[in-house]
């Protein structure tokens, strides 16, 4: 693989207001490779939108450098207090190669679906005939050919977002920035949009930057994840790494919202079985990634250590073709037996969290 297609280096974005200054993005560096679906997760106000708007310079950073496709869009030299940026004209041309979709679709209300897509083609080199064909092709791609002459107000949320995807793809971009594109949609429509994005990523090799506050969306399609809080990236890695071994509290929170495990723990903890845990019992949570599940590990606990494992809840996610699982289990046996069982589990890279001890 060559250089990253997007590389943001030491980006600061500070808003100076009358009474206060807001450091929306603080020294963030991020490298996104060609073909990545890079999820950026964080609560509202974390600075996600501000950060991605820096990519196409809708937001000029206060400091840092922005390099897209090996071309430096913006660079600031702190010491010399000098900023260099590409020309307005070049920027407009480059922006056409960076599609962007938004939470509220941001379609032109006074233009039909066709006109909305054609608007993005205004400055393309295609002739009128070719533009027409291109718009038709894009609408077919997002499955909206039959809505071509309607206005946005006549469409559902999912349809509007598909129009905006068609518009974003009009100039055959290599990058698509999705800023909370599914946050205003119902779960079913969200899945349709996410699978469309996944398809675009796989079939066109589109690099996608996926901003969201829903871990669920990231889990569906991203291969890399960064977690943002207060203008900083607090944790990042491959989707599997993040899901399997989150280190930050916030990351854990996000993952739990995506797996519902927190709800399961609450419900199961209220069960008599757990409430009245015996002395020689331990209520634990096991988390594992990949092959571990292929082995009848749980069964081996009894065979090897005479520890019985009562599985109360199980959840397996397939992330990027790899199973990632969580089990809520009650282990019973003597102290020594349990100790041995736990150390075996740990040897098999199973994460163990003791939720309640019987002692």
């Amino acid at each position: 693989m060559s250089n990253p297609i997007i590389s943001l280096n030491h980006i600061d974005v500070t808003f100076y207001q009358k009474k206060r200054t807001i450091e929306a993005v603080k020294d963030v560096s991020i490298a996104i490779n060609r073909g990545d679906v890079y999820g950026i997760v964080g609560y509202s106000g974390a600075g996600k939108s501000t950060l991605v708007r820096v990519i196409n310079l809708l937001q000029e950073p206060t400091h840092g450098s922005v390099v897209v496709n090996d071309e430096t869009f913006f660079q600031s030299d702190k010491k010399a207090n000098k900023k260099t940026r590409i020309t307005t004209n070049d920027l407009r041309n480059r922006r056409r190669k960076i599609g962007m979709i938004f939470q509220h679709f941001n379609l032109l209300n006074e233009r039909t679906v066709t006109e909305n897509v054609a608007f993005a083609l205004k400055h393309s080199d295609l002739n009128a005939e070719q533009k027409k064909a291109k718009v038709a092709e894009l609408l077919a791609l997002v499955n909206l050919s039959d809505r071509a002459e309607q206005y946005p107000s006549q469409l559902s949320g999912g349809q509007k977002q598909r129009v905006s995807i068609a518009r974003a793809l009009a100039n055959d971009p290599e990058i698509l920035i999705s800023d909370e594109a599914t946050s205003a949609l119902d779960p079913k429509t969200t899945n349709q949009i996410l699978s469309l994005l996944k398809k675009l990523n796989e079939e066109l090799g589109l690099t996608i930057v996926l901003i969201t506050h829903e871990m669920q969306a990231v889990k569906e399609i991203a291969n890399k994840v960064a977690v943002m809080q207060d203008g900083e990236i607090i944790e990042r890695g491959s989707l599997l790494e993040i899901f399997a071994k989150p280190t930050q509290q916030l990351t854990k929170e996000f993952i739990e919202t995506a797996t519902n495990i927190d709800k399961a723990i609450a419900t199961i903890s209220a069960q008599p079985l757990v409430k009245n845990l015996h002395e020689n019992e331990l209520f634990i949570r096991l988390s594992y990634v990949g092959d571990t599940t292929d082995e009848p590990l749980i069964a081996s606990l009894f065979r090897d250590f005479q520890v019985t494992a009562n599985i109360l809840y199980g959840n397996v996610e397939i992330l990027q073709n790899t199973p990632v699982g969580s089990l809520l289990v009650i282990l019973s046996g003597t102290d020594d037996q349990i100790k041995a069982a736990i150390s075996t589990l740990a040897d098999h890279h199973v994460e163990i969290e003791i939720l309640k001890g019987g002692k």
Partner: protein
């Protein structure tokens, strides 16, 4: 019928149809003043209104000084009562149209009187265009003029139709005062030949005609505002 009319409205009939003080003449004068000052004042107001939107701190071409100038010019012109403006800019009027009195001379103060009002109306209308739509346009590489014409004016067109209607109606009101510099028109008819001469019937008919104008403008404006909106 004709007999009844000339008995009931003797002064109306006395004014005649054509001639310097005729009804037709007054109607044409009002239409002429409204039309041309709407064109010139409208254009000026549109330029200032758009200027205020795009040079504002959150506009597409923020510029403190330009914004300040647009803003102050509009505020100052808005603050001057029309009847004073009429007298105050007489020398300027003479410079532009060669005379200080008459229907054409009235166009200058009318245009200058209506433009700041219209500029503010346009500013409000365009500020309702969602900034997200502007941003989406920028993201697809739209140029400055694409955004002015293709986004602001296009997206704001229904609101623009609405505020233009309001402005046109208030402009018809202003033309009534233009009589003060000999511009004629229906307002002048109502005051000079109606009210001042105790010719109530003349005042009544002139007022009625103005009302009809206003009503027609309102109806067309409402129709356009509705027709142009797909929100």
């Amino acid at each position: 019928m004709t007999q009844w009319f000339s008995d009931t409205f003797p002064n109306v009939v006395y004014q005649g149809w054509t001639g310097d003080t005729g009804w037709w003449t007054s109607i044409v004068q009002t239409l002429y003043m409204t039309f041309w000052s709407a064109i010139f004042g409208g254009l000026l107001g549109l330029i200032f209104g758009i200027g205020l939107i795009i040079t504002a701190p959150n506009g597409i071409a923020p510029n403190k000084w330009t914004f300040w100038i647009f803003d102050k010019v509009v505020s100052i012109f808005r603050a001057v009562p029309f009847i004073i403006l009429l007298a105050f800019i007489a020398p300027f009027t003479k410079l532009v149209v060669g005379t200080q009195i008459g229907t054409t001379a009235a166009l200058v103060p009318l245009a200058l009187g209506v433009f700041p009002f219209y500029a503010r109306q346009i500013q409000v209308a365009l500020s309702e265009v969602d900034s997200g739509i502007v941003e989406a346009a920028q993201a697809v590489g739209a140029s400055f003029w694409d955004i002015v014409f293709g986004v602001y004016l296009r997206e704001g067109r229904s609101e623009i139709a609405r505020v233009s209607t309001v402005t046109l109606i208030s402009l018809i009101g202003l033309t009534a005062m233009a009589g003060a510099i000999g511009a004629g028109g229906l307002g002048n008819m109502a005051i000079a030949y109606g009210y001042n001469r105790f010719a109530t019937d003349t005042t009544l008919v002139a007022t009625l005609l103005v009302l009809i104008f206003v009503l027609v403008v309102q109806l067309i404006g409402d129709y356009l505002a509705k027709k142009l909106s797909h929100k």
